[in-house]
């Protein structure tokens, strides 16, 4: 393609923006914030343009950019986008301005560095979703990891160092094995390019079942930790609790999706024989995750921890939809990745708002907030019911399609997974009751201010999207379906 390299532009505009930030003196705090916000809007606009250029109805990669990068090792610079990654990129570019807006007053130390970290993180995350070369992918993957580590370790809470190191080492262990698997693929096929490898594995250099299993296991471990799949989930509550609001939002909103995205993009299409072997186990772990995560969430009194465990449960749904490998399940999973990105991010933003005012996340410190913060409570309720999967809101569409796909694969799996529908209502409504309802009996809570105009501005788009996807998911499903169909057709070969 000779036209504009739109994908590269989306990845690198945040990086170029950072250069701009560097010329600003750190004393001009307000200006720094405004400039960073404007910079973060550029990728958003560009990605909307990308959506405009994207041709619906095709399952294949589009807008590809292929350049040689390190020819001696056959490492290429290969970007491309399909119906799945287009949505994840949009989610990322949508969330980044929100991150900056939400940290407007809450981040007061090293503001410039914070903005740089956020923008670099954005570039890395978009890079992960766009890379079609395994080395390039791995580089972005690690870059994302490092910036997240910095985000937690520098701007986090009291136990930030423990949480950051736990997060880093845990993810690193997985990534290293994945890197070994990538090298093995290179020895086998002589290329790092996903499409080249894929066609080689399906043609000239097929792998036998045991090779596939080992490689799949290596990839799957890296991605399962990221999801996080039970029992690899314990880093998540710690990371969430210690991360600043922006960190939690990006962690729940985008980072966790990289695990499920990795399964869809790499682990499953490359090693179909291994999938046959592993899928019952992965389904079982997903179901355990759904139920276990919900039970854990029920037990939490720290609001952030509660939402973190609810993510374990929700991502269990997403993984289940992927592993049943049919079009309903997969389409539901991809949509649910976006839905979870919206509802859980919104919950973390709201917790951040209240934390900024009261400096505690303990639910026992609250109660009756609906009286003093009605608008805040209204937002929280919407996010809650989106997360519970109330029909008419976004969460339901995803959950329904996932469960339908599961049901078509195995009735009993669906029965087990559907208990998650009951459990999510239990822990979320319990939270709402203790957090927003009941008497307003604490003196400190009587003076709380409702959401400000700035907060309202970044929360409102979430509500619009939550309702829109719930009532009219068609544009989203139109993007997802051809890609999912293409993927399944590939697998069927």
């Amino acid at each position: 393609m000779d036209s504009l390299p739109i994908l590269s532009l989306i990845i690198f505009t945040p990086v170029i923006g950072i250069l701009l930030l560097m010329f600003l003196d750190r004393r001009y705090v307000q200006e720094l914030r405004q400039v960073a916000l404007v910079i973060s809007l550029v990728p958003l606009i560009l990605s909307l343009w990308m959506l405009h250029m994207f041709q619906e109805g095709q399952g294949k990669m589009q807008l590809e950019e292929v350049h040689a990068w390190i020819p001696t090792l056959n490492i290429g610079y290969h970007l491309g986008i399909d119906g799945i990654s287009v949505l994840l990129v949009l989610l990322t570019t949508f969330l980044t301005p929100v991150l900056l807006l939400s940290s407007w007053n809450s981040i007061n130390k090293r503001i410039k560095e914070f903005q740089i970290a956020i923008l670099l993180l954005e570039a890395a995350m978009i890079g992960v979703f766009l890379s079609l070369d395994l080395v390039l992918f791995y580089l972005f993957w690690e870059a994302m990891l490092i910036h997240m580590y910095i985000l937690i370790g520098v701007w986090g809470g009291e136990r930030r160092v423990y949480a950051a190191i736990k997060f880093f080492i845990y993810t690193m262990v997985g990534s290293l094995l994945m890197f070994l698997a990538i090298l093995y693929l290179w020895f086998q096929t002589g290329s790092f390019d996903l499409q080249v490898i894929s066609s080689a594995l399906h043609g000239t250099a097929p792998l036998d079942a045991s090779q596939q299993c080992w490689l799949f296991a290596a990839f799957a471990l890296a991605f399962a930790i990221k999801v996080p799949l039970f029992p690899f989930h314990t880093w998540l509550p710690d990371a969430h609790v210690e991360a600043p609001t922006a960190g939690s939002v990006v962690l729940a909103g985008v980072l966790l999706k990289m695990g499920t995205y990795g399964f869809i993009r790499f682990a499953i299409p490359l090693f179909p024989l291994a999938v046959e072997v592993f899928y019952p186990w992965l389904c079982a772990l997903s179901i355990i995750g759904i139920i276990f995560g919900a039970f854990m969430a029920w037990m939490q009194t720290d609001i952030k921890k509660l939402v973190a465990y609810s993510s374990v449960s929700h991502l269990g749904f997403v993984m289940l939809g992927i592993m049943v490998l049919n079009s309903n399940g997969l389409a539901g999973s991809v949509l649910q990745m976006i839905n979870h990105g919206l509802s859980t991010s919104m919950l973390f933003l709201l917790v951040g708002i209240i934390y900024e005012r009261r400096h505690t996340r303990e639910v026992t410190q609250y109660g009756g907030l609906a009286k003093v913060m009605p608008v805040f409570s209204c937002f929280f309720m919407i996010a809650t019911f989106s997360s519970i999967g109330l029909p008419g809101l976004n969460g339901f569409i995803g959950e329904f399609l996932i469960l339908l796909g599961t049901f078509q694969k195995s009735v009993w799996l669906a029965v087990l997974a559907a208990t998650g529908v009951i459990l999510s209502a239990v822990y979320m409504l319990n939270l709402v009751k203790r957090f927003l309802l009941g008497p307003l009996d604490r003196e400190e809570n009587r003076q709380l201010n409702d959401v400000t105009a700035r907060e309202f501005c970044y929360l409102a788009p979430f509500v619009v999207l939550i309702v829109f996807i719930g009532l009219y998911p068609k544009p989203f499903l139109n993007l997802i379906e051809p890609t999912v169909g293409y993927l399944l057709a590939q697998l069927a070969h």
Partner: protein, 663 residues
């Protein structure tokens, strides 16, 4: 007209948006105007649509847009207005509008006034989506949506944690039912490859589907394996949803607690409309249910059992709204009993008349509660006939209607149900288990007597006898007036005359409702003689109930004392007034163990095993291995030399040995 069908749910939804967003700023008058115009507008559109339906005889169908559309699954956002939906729409918008009007006075001065009307409008919108949906999935949107509004309105006065707890309980218990409903939807899709309601009741599709099985039950005890019919499982699962929403055994426990909400909410949501949606679902899918005899037996059993069970609890409750709540559970049981014996028309008929008289009773109790400054305990009432004469009259009318006093609306519908029960007992249509059908009929029959008894008890304790009202409050008790009185009057008229839509042929009527909806009940010719008998015995049992209540509560305390003081009597009274300890049972058997499980899983599996032992443990192992090697790096040169020397010696020795061996 078809284009305008969307206005039926859309108007209340717009009302919700306007009131929800602007209501706080624009004040009470604005809120009540918008809040009432919205359902009234929906009512007007319903009337217009009804008119067209009458004229043309063709159901209205309006496809709005593709909601979920994949090649492997699709569900449109489409509305469908057939006679059954029309009847239900009339009830929802008609009774709904009346209750909205009533609320303008009832909720006056409440700080959450705008919020109340916004929620009530939203409820109406969701309820109408439930009623008008042309496929199961859209129906489910309404189904859970009304659950949301019910949750919001039960916990409307959220200052009291108990109200919030009641709201949570309602939503969660309903979700248990919805779990079954959802699985039912999946199975419907797997069996019929569509969720379209019209297709589900199409005789041809149904005939094809009824042969499908999902494996079979084998057991050494059985000679032949019993095949599991897909239709039976589907109907059982959908009924599971209905059990939650319509508060039947074992999921009825949320409804009595739901009385924590404002009284108009209890009237609209927890008596007239939402809780009847389970019955509506069964009527909507009547042919599907009718083709699953096993399910029908279960429905009849649960219905009859719930009717009796709830009536027994209602006998001893002291909170006026609690009595009405258990009475609602009981009457819903009646409707399901009708469904179970195949009298779908009778179920729908009773649904309509119940909406009239139960709304009347609830709103009547609302008048009492307002007049008594939010006192609900009947032990602190009595003698209110003097100060609330109008409320007294309408309440007695409601009582007569629910008890089945002849010519009141409830008489016709209840009689039809009892007759259908008798008929099924005679025909033993329930899987040939004759004695079971007799038992169910007997339970329904007994319930009729109990209903009359506990309702007259309420009247007696509230309005008759000596005043037990707080002397300070007594002079202030007066009729609330305004819209409240007018609404009560309209509902009273409906409760008296509502039966005309279903007067059976043997009483000279034509059963308009049955003919209109196509759910009429065809009586076998040889049983015609029984219709009079059945009607007479149902009148007899109602009279006995009323008379006994009058003796026990209306005239002095003697008889009641002697019953309560007898050992059996006191046991029964204690169990009944404690609601048979079902809440406690669920708490100990289900909620408690689950909490314990969650607690153990969290501390032992998650915190200890996974996080401490495996995750931190592997870190610690790595660290201690590192520690071991670190110790060798002591920085003490002689130690290095010593190690070096020893190592060299060992190597030398090995080399010598090995070389020697090699040579």
């Amino acid at each position: 007209m078809e284009k305008h069908l969307i206005w039926i749910p859309l108007l209340p939804f717009l009302g919700f948006l306007v009131n929800g967003i602007l209501g706080k700023r624009l004040g009470t008058r604005f809120v009540s105007t918008v809040g009432c115009i919205a359902p009234l507008g929906a009512f007007a559109v319903t009337v217009a649509a009804w008119g067209q339906l009458q004229r043309t005889g063709v159901s209205l169908h309006s496809h709005l847009f593709d909601w979920i559309s994949l090649t492997s699954f699709s569900a449109p956002f489409a509305l469908f207005f057939d006679p059954i939906a029309a009847v239900m729409c009339m009830v929802v918008t008609g009774v709904g509008s009346l209750i909205h009007l009533y609320s303008t006075r009832y909720m006056r001065g409440d700080p959450g006034y705008f919020r109340f009307f916004a929620y009530l409008n939203l409820f109406t919108a969701f309820m109408l989506i439930l009623v008008l949906a042309d496929n199961l999935l859209l129906l489910f949107v309404g189904w859970e949506g009304v659950g949301l509004c019910s949750y919001l309105l039960i916990g409307f006065w959220y200052n009291d944690p108990q109200n919030c707890q009641a709201g949570n309980k309602a939503f969660i218990v309903n979700r248990i039912g919805d779990f079954a409903f959802l699985l039912g939807i999946f199975l419907v899709f797997q069996t019929f490859a569509t969720l379209d309601l019209q297709t589900l009741v199409d005789p041809q599709t149904l005939a094809a589907a009824s042969t499908k099985t999902l494996g079979s039950i084998t057991s050494p005890l059985l000679e032949n394996p019993i095949p599991i019919s897909a239709v039976v499982v589907i109907t059982l699962l959908l009924f599971g949803g209905a059990v939650g929403k319509s508060a039947q055994i074992p999921l009825y426990v949320w409804l009595p607690d739901a009385m924590a909400g404002p009284t108009p909410v209890s009237a609209l949501i927890h008596a007239a409309t939402m809780v009847t949606s389970g019955v509506y679902l069964c009527c909507r899918l009547a042919p599907l249910f009718a083709s699953a005899p096993f399910t029908m037996t279960i429905i009849a059993a649960i219905g009859a059992l719930t009717a009796l069970w709830a009536a027994l609890i209602a006998l001893t409750q002291n909170d006026i709204k609690k009595v009405l709540a258990y009475s609602t559970v009981s009457q819903l049981g009646y409707m399901f009993f009708a469904v179970g014996v195949g009298a779908f028309g009778a179920a729908l008929f009773h649904l309509v008349t119940h909406a009239f008289f139960k709304a009347l009773l609830f709103l009547g109790s609302g008048s009492v509660i307002v007049a008594m400054h939010h006192e609900q305990d009947m032990r602190r009432m009595g003698g209110l006939r003097e100060s609330l004469p109008f409320t007294h009259i309408v309440f007695v009318i409601g009582t007569f209607a629910i008890s089945g006093v002849p010519l009141f609306s409830g008489f016709f519908s209840k009689d039809e149900i009892l007759f259908a029960g008798l008929e099924s007992a005679l025909h033993s249509s329930l899987l040939g288990w004759g004695f079971l059908s007799w038992m169910f009929w007997g339970m329904a029959f007994l319930t009729a007597g109990l209903t009359a008894f506990y309702m007259l008890r309420v009247v007696a304790l509230t309005f008759w006898g000596e005043s037990r009202v707080d002397p300070e409050l007594a002079p202030k008790v007066q009729e609330p007036g305004g819209w409240m009185g007018l609404v009560l009057l309209v509902l009273a008229v409906l409760s008296v005359t509502g039966g005309v839509i279903g007067i059976p042929e043997f009483l000279g009527g034509t059963h308009i409702l049955g003919h209109f909806t196509g759910l009429q009940h065809l009586v076998a010719p040889e049983l015609h003689s029984l219709e009079w008998t059945s009607a007479l015995i149902s009148v007899a049992i109602a009279s006995i109930g009323l008379l006994m209540a009058w003796f026990v509560y209306g005239r002095g305390q003697g008889m009641r004392r002697s019953f309560v003081d007898s050992s059996l009597g006191s046991l029964l009274t204690r169990w009944s007034s404690n609601k048979f300890y079902v809440d406690e049972l669920y708490q100990t058997l289900i909620v408690g163990p689950l909490r314990l499980l969650a607690y153990l899983l969290f501390w032992i599996v998650d915190r200890l095993l996974i996080d401490k032992v495996l995750v931190d443990g592997s870190g610690r192992v790595t660290r201690s291995i590192g520690e071991m090697f670190r110790r060798m790096q002591s920085g003490y040169v002689p130690a290095y030399l010593l190690t070096f020397g020893c190592g060299a010696l060992v190597l030398l020795f090995l080399m010598m040995v090995l070389l020697k061996g090699g040579a």
